[in-house]
Amino acid sequence: MFDMLQTWLSSFLYDWLAILITLLIQAVAVILPVLLAVAWLTFFERKVIGYMQIRMGPNRVGPQGWLQPIADALKLMNKEIIFPSQSNLYLFVIAPVLALAPAIAGWAVIPFDANGVVVADINAGLLYVLAVSSVVVYGVIISGWASNSKYAFLGAMRASAQKISYEIAMGFALVTVLMVAGSMNLTAIVEGQQGGILNWYWIPLLPMFFVYFLSGVAETNRAPFDVAEGESEIVAGFHVEYSGMAFAIFFLAEYAMMILISFMTAIMFLGGWLSPFEGVPLLADLFAWVPGFIWLFMKVAIFLFIFLWFRATFPRYRYDQIMRLGWKVFIPVTIVWVFVVGALAYFKMGPWFN
């Protein structure tokens, strides 16, 4: 569709201008739904946690509270943004941008359906997502330092140490995916899982599936790994000096990263847009009409629900125990599994290594 648009545009415009306009439209077509999903994910979170704690959750704005995100956005936009007088103004302003920009940039390589429904179908897609998600930490560090506040600074220190620790485990988990799939292209990874639920990579990579998702929870600073915010210890962590929309942007970034991690887990371990009934005699025909992206979105929704479920269930980790889990549990497990996958590939085991 976008190729047609580009050829039509270049028939009466400069070539580079046609490419630029097409890219902009593609970017908006991906970013706008992501931001809307973020808005209603906050609503979903409050509802889910509310029901888990046997209360109603927000139910006053609009029917059943469905307009709550809009009310929240309006409130945040009307609030005054306060700049601490002793802060570093440039860095203070740039920090939320640095948090949000990578969280959105990662969406460029996410395939939503078969036949290349993706903004940029690049060779090193897996590496790109890893690189981009590693840059998110700068928003946290810079905001903590530029705020000139001890609480913010402590939050930033905790967040950066935590993110680096879990990034290693995450990187190794991605290495095993790459070993099974033989490609870093996300579309190729999904296509390698064709042939039903048993061909998805979650079976040969079961420990990595858990390691990746839990590292993702730690990377996004979500409960139970949310020591960077730790209300009971350091007030609100790195964004304690931010107010209004600047504060909201940190939340947009956090939730956009949550959705991105859920998409990556679904794509790498649960067969992306592939139907779970593939190869099953009767059900495969029965559900053949369901478009691929519906399956993908359903898988993503399950992971997002697990994110919220964690938050309502587990108490916050103690800081040294977070470090122990990252360095002494996850990293050894991932290194062992790299060798296991190597052996599986050498002996051409199962349906995954043919």
């Binding site: 580079w16 590496l127 790109y128 690189a131 590693s134 220190m157």
Partner: protein, 211 residues
């Protein structure tokens, strides 16, 4: 000038200027942040040169991990710039001479007379060749010994760093967390059920009254 050249010149200018800022800003934290910008623009240049693996790994490793740790340290330290800059004017001419000498050496070795476009013809790249593959294959076949040697060197470095910072403390003075012990704990280890009569015995009451 093609579009790619235009992007290249923007990124190259950014890299050079931010590199200049690294050594000229007073605040060490800001210097580190400028260094991050240098890395990002260099990664962009590598992407233009179709070395997407190197470009992304530069961002992943240097921007995402090394510089974060670097910032971590620089932010924690209270660096006094005044004492570092002591004697700057006195040694200024010597510094300029050294810098010029180093620049001359670099120019002689990697200058345009050896690395110009006339000497090194850029390889014609097939668009479908994965940069990752074309790095991995020689790395693990032709240069595998050098690769393993580098890995061993890094391992020695890690061991050395840990040995230097390791402080042995006696287990009596420091309480270490024993996870196995904590997991194995049963309810019986932590509390004891005590059976008591709901009403005190008559003999006890009489004794209390005596006191």
């Amino acid at each position: 000038m093609t579009f790619e050249q235009f992007i290249f010149y923007i990124l190259a200018t950014m890299a050079a200027l931010s590199g200049l800022m690294v050594i000229s800003v007073k605040n060490p934290v800001k210097a580190a942040l400028w260094l991050v910008l240098t890395f990002v623009s260099t990664a962009g240049i590598w992407l233009i040169a179709q070395a997407e693996f190197l470009g992304l790994v530069l961002i992943l490793v240097y921007v995402g991990a090394v510089m974060v740790l670097f910032l971590f340290v620089v932010m924690m330290l209270d660096i006094n710039v005044a004492t570092i800059k002591e004697g700057f004017t006195r040694y200024y001419p010597l510094g300029v001479l050294t810098a010029l000498a180093i620049f001359a050496l670099i120019y002689l070795v990697v200058g345009p007379n050896r690395f110009g476009l006339e000497q090194v013809v850029p390889p014609v790249m097939d668009g479908n060749v994965s940069n990752t593959l074309s790095i991995a294959v020689p790395l693990y076949t032709t240069h595998v010994y050098a690769f393993i040697l580098a890995a061993v060197l890094l391992l020695v470095g890690i061991v050395a760093a840990i040995t230097l910072t390791l402080r042995r403390r006696s287990p009596e003075t420091v309480l270490y967390q024993n996870i196995d012990k904590q997991v194995k704990v049963r309810a019986a280890d932590r509390f004891r059920m005590v059976k008591m009569d709901a009403v005190k015995k008559e003999a006890d009451i009489n004794e209390e009254e005596k006191d």
